[in-house]
Structure formats: structure tokens, C-alpha cells
């Protein structure tokens, strides 16, 4: 028995030495590049693991109380919200996409890009503007009631329909963008093919164009749904309880991190189910890829059809963009004198600093990941990268809890150890810094920076490397003279996208910021939770302006 194991060990040992010889003979020792993707993947797995393990944690009194009182209503609220947003964004997004991609009606050119503008307005900003305008004490209802009497019926703004409406207005651009893209790239070939088989254009839409666009539409709806489940700001403004607000309340209201992570684990299970569906959709998108062909002549709408199209597009644009912006500007102008002080500049400074740091951090890590995949394009690395970029699907509230719990206990452990071994009082080394917040940002927004850098890297084929080496340029020189110029625009896009996302980010910042680190979005949360809409307007204006950056970038890119 012993002899056997020894001989196996010896054999394995031989294998190992021959392997290392093989590696060294190729001058390719196992490098750090091998490890990087796994380290980054671990960074994502730690919060996920923390949260999931709390799923099986012993039940506390607080948890018991939550289960008895609020859990059912959380599930019901989440279900109706998801259903409403999914059907609303599908209907609005697909019809606007079809109208602007295939039809011709007055204003079509303007609407085809302007309908993306609502992406610049965070949902929670639209939310507080809508409440400020249409709530019972708002100007619209006041005018309405003074005109028709106090008992006249007015739709309930603060309820479920209000939240759904706001989120549909904020998230329909995802569906619109992808569906429109699908309709445009289909070109006229498939429609012609269906015509040559005896179908007219209307039949062709329902039997060919729509089914062919299905994976893209589903992809857009999926994005909208993920945003809905991750949303914290909007539901907080509306006082509409979902898992994200419940997690916040459990932590900061009942001071129970355990209950917060148990709630987070439930949300995480829902999210995981969605990720599985989303991966399936992506696979189908790849197979359903359509070859580009010339664009079809647009269907010219006339009479009531064209009037309806223009009305739908301009109505959407008005409620999703023009109205919130207009109201924000008015409120901001009113409060400018008293709000534009050193405190406001402090919020702005914190937001800018955090966004810049996060952009630098995520871009650096994304670059490392991309180079690691380039060096070792094997299945293990690719899977690690896939996990590492999974964080975009994790709601900020979940990530905040998942990052805080392990890092805080690590912090406490370091403190105890140093105290016992060296009699040194270290205090809180991690919790007082930006570390937790930045790590959470990194996890959540890595995918955002990874995808533009990755697609820029795809353009540097291995033959480009070989060509430059054959001309005597390699190592750092190649990096500087060949790679960097090609990657530059990708890195810039990645940085800009992360920058804006962090500017708008609310739950992570709110829950993991060190004392005194209030940002624009934190200020908005605080003002809106007191119903001080006017005071929230000035910071919101800054967010909207920064939110326009990626949209402008995107439009420039598609115009090229």
C-alpha cells in the first residue's frame, strides 16, 4: 500500500519536473497573469459567498419578525413591479424602435436619437420630480382640484402604478436601443425573402422581423428587469418597499446586518435565476446574428398613423426627459442662492473624486483581465473572467452588505491580533477608509469597463503582434507604439462609462461611505426622504449633465 502511493507520488513528481522543464524550455514560467483572473473572480465570489451563506444562517428574532410581517408583501411588491416594468418597457421600447427604425413620420430623425436621452436621468431623479409635480400637494393636483373641486378623482401617484410608470420611463431606452439595433441590422433582405414567399410587409413584421429581433428585445427587457430589481433610489423616494429598501432598513434602521444579509440572499437567488436566463439569451443572440444588408425603404406613415407615431414619440420624450429636466432647472434656479455653498461644492468634489478613483481602478483591473485572457486564452481563464464580470448583476445593496461583512470582520480580527501580539491599538483600519466602497464599485462596474476594453483588444490580432515583432518592436515598445494607440479609445469609453455610473450610484455609496463622505447622490437621498424636492434639484442637475456624457459618446460612435 505504502509502496504503491510512493511510486504514484514518484511518477507524479516526474511528471511535474518534466512539466516544469517543458515550461522553462519555452521560457514561459507560470506567470502572475495566470493568477489575476482568479484573484478578481474571488473578489466577486467573496460577497456572493458571504450573502449566500447567510441564507442558511440561524434565524434571529429580527429575521423572524421580518418573515412574519413584511416578507410576503416584499415578494408581492417585487413581483408586480417586475411584471409592470417588463410589460411596459417591452411595449414602449419595441413600438418606438419599430417606428424609428422602419417607418417614416414627422420628426423621425430627431426622435431616433432623442429617445435615448432619458438614459441620462437617473430613475430616482425622475421619481422625485414626478412626485413633486403630481403628488397630492404638488402644483398639478392643486390646480386640478381647484378647478374641478377637491373630490374629483385623480390617479394615485404614490402607489404601485406610479413607481412602475417612472421605471418604465427610465428603463425603456434599454429595450428601445437593442430592438432598434436588431430591426436596423435585419435590413431589407429578410423582409424581401418573406415577400418573395407571398407575405406582405405587415405579415412580414409579425412573422419575420419581430421573431428575429426576439433575442435582442429579450436582452433589453432583461437589462431593464435587472435595473428594476437593483433599484434603490426610486422605490425609496416612493416609499414602495422592495428587497433593496428592506435591506437598507434592516441594517440602518434595525441595526441587524444578519437580517440584511438574509434579505440580500433572497434577492440574490432571484438574480441568479435571471442570470441563467440572460446567458441563454446571449447564446441565442450569437446564433441569430444577421448579416448586414442594405436598409429597406421606410414605410411612410400617413394620416392618423403618422400622427399617433409622432404623439407617442414626443409624449415619451416629454415625460421621460423634457418634463423632469425642465422642473429640475426651475427648482435648481430657485434654490441656487441658498444651496450653492461650500457644502454643495463638497458633495460635488466627493462625487468627482470617487468617480475618478473608481474609473481608474476598474479600467486598470479590466486591462489586467484583458491581457491575462490574451496570454492564456484557455477555458479556466475565460470562466474566471466570466465570474469576475458577473458583478454588474448584483444589486448595490447586496454588494454593500456582502463587502462590508467580511471586510469588517477582517478589520476587527486585525485589530485584535495586533492588540494581543504587539499591544498596539490599530483602530479600524479598513472601515474608516474608502476601501470597502471602492472594492464594491470595482465589483459592480468591472463589466462596464471590461467590455469596451475587451472589444478594443479584439482588434489587436495575434498577427499584429507578430508583424510588429518581425519589425523589431516588442515588449514595452510594442505596448506603447502598437497596443496603447489601438486601445486608447476603448479605455477612454470604459473610464467615462464607469465615471458616470459611480456618479449616479446610490445604495453602495449610502451604505459603505466613511463618515462625512456625502456625495451628490447621498444628498439627493437625504433631501428626498424629507420631501425637500427643491433641495434635491441642484445635485440632480449635476448628475444629469454628467449622465449625458456616455450618450454623446455613444451617438458619436454610432455615427461613425
Amino acid at each position: 500500500m505504502k509502496v504503491e502511493t510512493l511510486s504514484i507520488a514518484a511518477r507524479n513528481g516526474n511528471k511535474l519536473t518534466s512539466l516544469s522543464r517543458y515550461l522553462s524550455s519555452n521560457h514561459r514560467p507560470v506567470s502572475v497573469w495566470r493568477l489575476i483572473p482568479f484573484l478578481v473572480a474571488a473578489l466577486v465570489l467573496i460577497p456572493i459567498g458571504t450573502i449566500l451563506s447567510s441564507f442558511f444562517a440561524p434565524t434571529s428574532d429580527i429575521w423572524q419578525h421580518l418573515v412574519e410581517t413584511t416578507l410576503l408583501s416584499l415578494l408581492i411588491n417585487t413581483f408586480w413591479l417586475a411584471l409592470g416594468v417588463v410589460s411596459g418597457t417591452t411595449l414602449l421600447g419595441v413600438s418606438l424602435a419599430w417606428l424609428t427604425a422602419v417607418c417614416e413620420f414627422p420628426g423621425r430623425k430627431l426622435f431616433s436619437w432623442a429617445l435615448l436621452l432619458p438614459l441620462a436621468v437617473p430613475a430616482y431623479v425622475t421619481a422625485f420630480v414626478v412626485l413633486g409635480l403630481f403628488d397630492f400637494t404638488g402644483p398639478v393636483q392643486s390646480a386640478f382640484h381647484s378647478w374641478l373641486g377637491p373630490d374629483a378623482w385623480f390617479p394615485e401617484v404614490r402607489g404601485r402604478m406610479g413607481v412602475i410608470t417612472v421605471m418604465v420611463l427610465a428603463f425603456y431606452p434599454y429595450v428601445y436601443l437593442l430592438a432598434r439595433n436588431a430591426f436596423l441590422t435585419q435590413g431589407k433582405r429578410s423582409l424581401e425573402a418573406s415577400q418573395s414567399l407571398g407575405l406582405n410587409r405587415t405579415q412580414g413584421f409579425f412573422r419575420v422581423a419581430l421573431p428575429m429581433a426576439r433575442p435582442w428585445i429579450a436582452g433589453g427587457v432583461m437589462l431593464a428587469l435587472m435595473e428594476t430589481l437593483a433599484d434603490f433610489g426610486t422605490v425609496a423616494v416612493f416609499n414602495y418597499d422592495t428587497f433593496t429598501t428592506a435591506i437598507y432598513k434592516a441594517w440602518f434602521g434595525m441595526f441587524s446586518l444578519a437580517a440584511a444579509s438574509q434579505l440580500a440572499s433572497l434577492l440574490l437567488v432571484i438574480i441568479f435565476a435571471l442570470i441563467v436566463v440572460e446567458q441563454q439569451i446571449r447564446i441565442r443572440m450569437r446564433y441569430a446574428e444577421v448579416k448586414q444588408s442594405a436598409r429597406a425603404d421606410r414605410i411612410a406613415l400617413s394620416g392618423w398613423r403618422s400622427a399617433t407615431a409622432t404623439a407617442l414619440a414626443s409624449g415619451t420624450l416629454f415625460f421621460a426627459f423634457l418634463l423632469p429636466i425642465g422642473q429640475l432647472v426651475i427648482w435648481a434656479a430657485n434654490s441656487l442662492v441658498q444651496d450653492l455653498d461650500s457644502r454643495y461644492l463638497g458633495f460635488l468634489w466627493h462625487s468627482l473624486l470617487l468617480s475618478t478613483l473608481a474609473a481608474l481602478l476598474t479600467c486598470t483591473v479590466a486591462l489586467l483581465l484583458v491581457y491575462a485572457t490574451r496570454r492564456h486564452p484557455d477555458a479556466a481563464t475565460r470562466n474566471a473572467v466570466r465570474i469576475a464580470t458577473l458583478g454588474y448583476a448584483l444589486p448595490g445593496t447586496v454588494l454593500a452588505v456582502g463587502m462590508f461583512v467580511p471586510l469588517a470582520s477582517l478589520d476587527n480580527w486585525i485589530g485584535e491580533v495586533t492588540l494581543q501580539l504587539f499591544q498596539i491599538e490599530t483602530g479600524l483600519m479598513i472601515q474608516g477608509t474608502l476601501a470597502i466602497m471602492l472594492l464594491a464599485y470595482l465589483t459592480r462596474f468591472l463589466a462596464v469597463s471590461h467590455s469596451p476594453i475587451d472589444s478594443a483588444m479584439q482588434r489587436i490580432t495575434s498577427s499584429i503582434d507578430e508583424a510588429s515583432m518581425s519589425m523589431g518592436i516588442n515588449g514595452w515598445m510594442m505596448l506603447r507604439r502598437v497596443h496603447l494607440p489601438i486601445l486608447k479609445s476603448g479605455i477612454f469609453t470604459a473610464g467615462a462609462l464607469v465615471f458616470v455610473d459611480v456618479m449616479k450610484e446610490m445604495p453602495i455609496t449610502l451604505m459603505t461611505r466613511p463618515f462625512g463622505w456625502d456625495t451628490l447622490s447621498v444628498r439627493i437621498f437625504e433631501m428626498t426622504s424629507e420631501g425637500a424636492w427643491e433641495q434635491a434639484a441642484l445635485p440632480a442637475v449635476a448628475l444629469v449633465i454628467s449622465g449625458l456624457i456616455p450618450i454623446i459618446l455613444f451617438m458619436r460612435q454610432t455615427e461613425k
Binding site: A193, S194, Q195, S196, L197, G198
Partner: protein, 353 residues
């Protein structure tokens, strides 16, 4: 007459792409429009299909006008099938559903049996439930053909159907397609830039240039009796040698005297070449044969080994060059002088320019 085009014109903006084009096709015939890219051949096809209107002229299907400056029948009502260059298979449908797509008005059972029949015809019964992305290029091509044939169209249009396939598959499939079309007695028009493809499939071929048909004829006549210089240059290989008409039956060139009805070949404008008229004579590579005993000598300039034979580019004593196709065991080096002999049984000559 199943299809008739009368002086049709088509333009993109200011650019006239089809100019006064006419053609006729009988039931069961396979026609072909052959020409370099940009000659307007695909535009003609799209006009027939109804994807583009005509700005002048008339298109008739079985005697009924479907396109003119006042009539336009939408494509879905023309009973015309089309095989697209990129196949345009529906990526979201299986092979069966792609083929059955145009049969939406048939009852379910009839549809299934028609689809099965076609799967057999194109030899794809095993792939019935696959999606387009799971098929090879050749299989996709067959699905596209079956899909277009399924509703039994009166006319089938094929737009460069083999251009996405590799050469060996192209030859095999083009013969297969001809057989399928002939078996089903389908009337069809093919558009291509590849003459071998055109020769393999079509009964009648129209060579197109600048939106006009230069010659509508059989493959044999296009090669051996080209109507003008463009057709002579576009079809096959060959060179023009200067010559002089001796009398209406004979023309003299550097290599000797050729005998045939010369004036008949003298186009354009049916110009009769009288005695002494200067002409350019087309010599195909098979018109000049290698003969060691010949006194006529030429120098080898280039050679292209082609397996069974070698295509020599020769420099004639006067310095003009000519092509000669020689069995490949006659292997001569570049620069070598070889004996040649004229062996042409017909003459293609155009008045010299």
C-alpha cells in the same frame, strides 16, 4: 411566353443602371444574366421580383403586365421565388419551417408533405430539424433553393446563388441545381459573374454590360460567335490579331489565311467588310496548335501549367503575342522557340479600331 421584358429602364438617382433591356423566356427555360459586377444584372432581377420599380418599359408575366410606369404588382403577389446571394434564411426557424414558410396558406398536412418532398429533392431529410447556423454553406444553399421552390412559383430567380461556396462545391451544386430545376420544369433566371456557372446551368445566356444585354445566346455561340468585342473579351480567353480581308470568304493574318463567312461576323452595325478591309481577328487558345514540324516559329513568353494542358503565351515573329493551349507533355522552357500551326474552322473578326 412566360416572362417578357420590354425595353425596361431602371435608375438609382441620376445613375441609369438598366438601359432599354428586353428579354423573353419560355416556360421551362433556364436563362442567365452574365456580366461583371456593377453591370446592372442584379437590378434586372430585382425589377422582375418587384423589389424595385421600373422607370420605363414593361415587365410581363404570362402575358400580364406586372411592372410598368403605371402598373406595379407587389412582390408577394407575383408568384416569383427567389434564392438570395446570402440565402437570407430565417435564423429563428428550423430547416422545415424555413422551407414551409411560404406555404402558410396550405392546410397543415399538405404543407408537411410538400416540405418532406422538397427535403428529399434537395437531399436534406436528415437536417430537417436543424437551425440555419448548424448547416454548412452548401446545405444552407439547398435550403434556400427548397424554400423558394416550395410554393411552386411560376418563375424562380437566383441571385449569384453559388458565390459564397468554394469552387469544387460550386461546380457540383450548379449541376445538381440544373437537374432539380429541369425535373420540376421550373422556369428560372440566374444572375452571375462566373461564366462556368452560367455555362453549367443555363440554356440561354445574356451577357450584360453597362445596363444592356450585349448578346442573348447559347453558351456555344457566345464563345465561338461573339457579337461584339465586349463579349469576345469577357467570354473565354483569346487575343486579337490584325488581319486583312482578302475576299468575303477569306481573311489573312500573320499566321496564315482563315476561311469563313467574315462579313457576317463583322459587327457592330452590320458593316460589310469589303476586300482590303482591316480587321481584328479573335484567336482562342485552341485555334493555335503546337506542331514541331511547322515552319512557323514562336517564342514562349509565359507558361501556365494546368494539369492536362499548358497555356503558353507566345511571341509571334512580328512581336504580337498569342495564346496556345498545348497538351502538357509538350513541356517547353520560357524563351524556347516552338513550331505552331493555325487550326481554326471559323473566323471571328471585327473592323479594326
Amino acid at each position: 411566353m412566360l416572362l417578357e421584358l420590354k425595353n425596361i429602364q431602371q435608375a438609382y438617382g441620376q445613375q441609369l443602371v438598366v438601359n432599354n433591356l428586353s428579354l423573353r423566356l419560355e416556360k421551362g427555360q433556364i436563362g442567365c444574366l452574365l456580366g461583371p459586377s456593377g453591370c446592372g444584372k442584379t437590378s434586372v432581377l430585382r425589377c422582375i421580383a418587384g423589389f424595385e420599380p421600373v422607370i420605363a418599359g414593361e415587365i410581363l408575366l404570362s402575358g400580364t403586365t406586372v411592372s410598368s410606369d403605371s402598373v406595379f404588382l407587389p412582390p408577394e403577389q407575383r408568384r416569383i421565388g427567389m434564392v438570395f446571394q446570402d440565402y437570407a434564411l430565417f435564423p429563428h426557424l428550423t430547416v422545415i419551417n424555413n422551407i414551409g414558410f411560404g406555404l402558410h396558406q396550405l392546410p397543415k398536412n399538405d404543407r408537411a408533405s410538400r416540405v418532406n418532398e422538397l427535403l428529399g429533392t434537395v437531399g436534406l431529410s436528415d437536417a430537417a430539424n436543424k437551425y440555419p447556423h448548424e448547416l454548412s454553406g452548401g446545405q444552407q444553399q439547398r435550403v434556400a433553393l427548397a424554400r423558394a421552390l416550395a410554393p411552386r412559383p411560376d418563375l424562380l430567380l437566383l441571385d449569384e446563388p453559388f458565390s459564397n461556396l468554394d469552387v469544387s462545391l460550386r461546380e457540383r451544386l450548379s449541376l445538381e441545381v440544373r437537374e432539380i430545376l429541369k425535373n420540376q420544369n421550373t422556369t428560372a433566371i440566374l444572375v452571375t459573374h462566373d461564366q462556368n456557372e452560367a455555362f453549367a446551368i443555363a440554356d440561354e445566356i445574356g451577357v450584360m454590360h453597362r445596363g444592356e444585354i450585349q448578346q442573348w445566346d447559347s453558351a456555344y455561340n457566345l464563345y465561338h460567335r461573339p457579337a461584339n468585342r465586349f463579349v469576345a473579351n469577357f467570354i473565354g480567353q483569346g487575343v486579337f490579331l490584325p488581319g486583312q480581308v482578302l475576299d468575303p470568304k477569306r481573311v489573312e493574318i500573320e499566321l496564315g489565311v482563315l476561311t469563313a463567312d467574315i462579313p457576317h461576323q463583322c459587327s457592330p452595325a452590320d458593316q460589310i467588310c469589303g476586300k482590303g478591309c482591316r480587321v481584328d481577328v479573335l484567336l482562342r487558345p485552341d485555334d493555335i496548335v503546337h506542331d514541331d514540324s511547322s515552319l512557323l516559329q514562336a517564342t514562349v513568353l509565359h507558361k501556365a501549367f494546368r494539369g492536362a494542358d499548358i497555356l503558353y503565351t507566345l511571341s509571334l515573329p512580328s512581336g504580337t503575342s498569342a495564346l496556345s493551349l498545348v497538351p502538357s507533355h509538350h513541356n517547353h522552357a520560357i524563351g524556347e522557340k516552338i513550331g505552331i500551326r493555325l487550326e481554326a474552322d471559323h473566323v471571328v473578326a471585327f473592323p479594326s479600331s
